[in-house]
Assembly symmetry: none
Homo-oligomer: 202 residues x 2
């Protein structure tokens, strides 16, 4: 749909590719919106450009919700998620290599030192920003986990206490049955701490 037909393969010219991307991205998002409205269906579109920029559309305002539905679909279909995950992150081993390569590249372009230095500076700032966001998130999650652990401990203690309580009650009942002569006296007499009145009837 243009002055001439284009073959569907990576556009060689960088500029043309960028222009095409802008136009078609707009078109794709428009079409996504149209189908979601016309046909009353949930649609989510995520586009990540080469430079890492994000473009998105979702029929709901919550893309996350759609993605959750997607994931439940996938989970239902596939059960070997364990293996998939394992292989997915196998690339980690090359991280060190990647960083080294980056450093080497930076050194090699040292011709006009100023710009490169600026770049390094900017890269560091980006990295710092990422790190800050990351550690903030980790901090919050760890805090939450810690709180939950404490809650768990507390509950475990309460549970133990209650169980002891019941155990002692049972034992008491048995003792009572033994010591009293009322053979037909129904068993369990339970007493709780706050009431030391327990022994008043003596």
């Amino acid at each position: 749909m243009g002055r001439r037909k284009v073959e569907i393969k990576r556009i060689q010219d960088k500029n043309c590719r960028q222009v095409a991307f802008c136009k078609r991205r707009k078109g794709l998002l428009k079409k996504a919106k149209e189908i979601s409205v016309l046909c009353d269906v949930d649609v989510a579109v995520v586009i990540i450009s080469n430079r890492g920029r994000l473009h998105e559309f979702s029929s709901n305002n919550s893309l996350t919700e759609i993605l959750q539905r997607y994931e439940s679909h996938v989970e239902a279909e596939k059960e070997n998620s364990a293996e998939i995950q394992h292989s997915k992150y196998s690339g980690f081993t090359t991280m060190g290599e990647l960083l080294q390569t980056t450093e080497r590249q930076l050194e090699e372009t040292n011709d006009d030192g100023l710009a490169v230095t600026d770049l390094i500076h900017l890269e560091n700032e980006l990295q710092t920003a990422l790190i800050q966001v990351r550690s903030r998130k980790t901090h919050l999650l760890l805090e939450s986990a810690k709180g939950l652990h404490e809650k768990e401990k507390l509950l475990q203690e309460e549970k133990k206490h209650l169980e002891d309580n019941i155990a002692s009650i049972k034992k008491n009942r048995e003792v009572n049955e033994m010591s009293t002569d009322f053979a037909d006296f129904p068993a369990p007499h339970i007493i709780c701490g706050q009431q030391r009145m327990t022994l008043n009837f003596l």
Copy 2:
């Protein structure tokens, strides 16, 4: 683009809507594929029909990966706008500005384009690696938190159960007392766990 113009609003006739859905879905997925190939970008499309059926496209074979990158983007933006912005990005009010500046710097050093392009490529790889590690960690932490929440719920239930248990025992005892003829038998007898010896002297 048909025999006549259609207004972009929910198609009333169910049949027409279904037909339109089939056609436009096909079209949308085709367009998504085209832009991903032509412009060499990552694209993910998820469509969930009214009937709950799933249709998808992803440029990679791993939609999950793209979605992870999406989520990292969103999280990064959210947290970024929340707090960090103010404090440490002295020169740059926003992440976007920082990135833009970075890009500008990269363009300005375009003299020997090859190395710069390589640098961009490497930067993207670094970014992707970071994102993967980050979302993996988030995943694990969230899983852990989820597990703890479930544990908590279970313990709460157990606790309630035990409490009910005690309550019913108490009630039983009272009923027992009523049925016996010991009028002078003082009413509430409660016993606390540690003191089961309490009644021994009877």
